[in-house]
Amino acid sequence: MKLRPLFTLLLIPLSAAGPTFSQEGHPAAPPPPKSAKEIVCKHHPVPKLEDVTAKMGIHFRHTADPAKKYILESMSGGVLLLDYDRDGWLDIYFTNSPSVEMALKGQKSRGALYHNNHDGTFTDVTDKAGVATPCFAMGGAVADYNNDGWPDIYVTCFGGNVLYRNNGDGTFADATTKARVSDGRWSTGAAFGDYDGDGFVDLMVTNYVDFHLNDLPQFGSAPTCKYRGVDVQCGPRGLKGAGDSLFHNNRDGTFTDVSKSAGVDDARGFYGLGVVFADFNNTGRPDIFIADDSTPNYFYKNLGNGKFSDIGLESGTAVNEDGSEQANMGIALGDYNHTGRPSIYVTEFTDEPDTLFRNDGDWSFEDVSYKAGVALPSLKWVKWGDAFVDLDNDGWLDLFAVSGHVYPQMETVASAGGYVQPKIVELNQGDGTFCDALSQAGPALSEKRVSRGVAVGDLFNDGNMDVVVEDLDGSPMVLRNHGIPGRHWVSFDLAGTKSNRAAIGALIKLSAGGITQTDEVHSGGSYLSQNDLRIHFGLGSATKIDAIEIRWPSGAIDRVSNLVADKFYSVLEGKGIVPSDQVRPAFGKHGF
């Protein structure tokens, strides 16, 4: 809540204070409050993140039309981290999409699956795995929809999504038709979550705009196809929304579309992008949060009877603190202030700061973006994928986000921030504020790119959380985190028995070094991407964990105490800590 417009109104009652309008009629965000300060990290050790993409043997390139005449060509680039062969090491899947011109000719672009060789290098196994050309791909999500122990991949696409069932032998089978989860519109975000607690994950899919290759909105042809006086691609405003989908898992390899009956079909036609299931109010039931571009976000409260209620405006998460809808893209969730509740960080368009909605409990959030120091470092850029991640292992979640404009035409418009843009790295100071660490975290982060998806995970099993970025134009960037010497950590790989096997929705509360942290296993999130499903905690100087409590989606609770730090633990529902082979499936065995 800003005093500037409010005080202006108190003094000059009928002035034009508040949101103003730019030449295209867009309600421009108000300028930052005078009290807003950019906090640069000082006296705070900053981990170095090194671009190791080439060293790892990753040669994938995302296809891109340089002109981006259609909005369809500006949105792809999700990255999924998953251990598809369950060898205990994260693998990487990059999505890809053709240009409109290629698509009209029937040409496809190849995605890529890279297998982790456990030695810092990766091998392209795309063809062997059978996941090269699922569709005109955007992003995706990972979970184990058939509870066979093997993580499956759902790829969101323009014109029909694809569900890859993991065969458990290094290959995937297209299970879309049987599962009935194609959707068929222009899908962007996806997330699995067990909203009805039946032990099988359901699937939420967001759709962006109603777009057709045989009826292309022409570049620069309308007021909604101009930006800062320059002709650009049309949309999303001026185009129709496309609705969203919730698919209920029937526990037999098929799903049923329950979008309408559940109340999440997006009848208002908002422009859906990021989506995630999370238990925001410790009810034991996952709610759904959706980032909608240029329209209000949805916050679907799970009512527990198969239905959801949108409380976006009531909760304070639909719009910014001025009541204005923003260009919401990616979603990061995290208990950054150790309250035991997940707060929400949403990435936004240029001139709109990324928004940090602090979770104050009882379904109430507050936009603390400026107060927390996360607004100013992000204001200039067009932001996409994002994550709460403890980069320095101090026990406090930091923030990472990527940027890159949608309009290549902005390369020559300095006030728009340019087309290529840097990363955003903000370290948690433990007092509700973050400091900007961009200039200290390594030169790769300042290298300007056109980035989209971001996923975080421990690629090298060394206790430091790494970052994988997929760019719209060209090569991705894998950032190896060299961490802070002397800091400790712990990681948990969870497997449900009564709950869904991948433990999506399981909540861990950890006490160590005098602080209590919480985190939840999430499918999807960020911008069209998937983070490491293992739960990682930084422990600072603590060398042991006093206690952990795991609340499984089934409602069961497991408690373990006195664990040694700096280790990966496997946890099986009902049994606690177990050898890793007990949470991994037998090779070659799979479910329906």
Binding site: M1, A17, A327, E366
Partner: protein, 68 residues
């Protein structure tokens, strides 16, 4: 910034005055509904939310098509 500082009651008084002075500013009603919600006045919050929605709807109908 009263609400950010947890002083929703203080903010509420200012916002009520602002809403009187400029009843057509949607964001004031949005902020006021938040302040009412934080001070356990749900009925007042609902009223202000309804006004906010009506003003937003009116604004959307009268403003030019927009870009992002």
């Amino acid at each position: 910034m009263p609400l950010n500082d947890g002083d929703a009651k203080g903010a509420m008084l200012h916002l009520e005055l602002a809403a009187k002075n400029a009843p057509n500013k949607d964001y004031i009603h949005y902020q006021l509904q938040q302040a009412y919600r934080k001070t356990s006045r749900p009925l007042d919050a609902e009223r202000e939310l309804t006004i906010y929605k009506q003003l937003k709807e009116r604004g959307n109908l009268t403003s030019e098509p927009t870009q992002r």
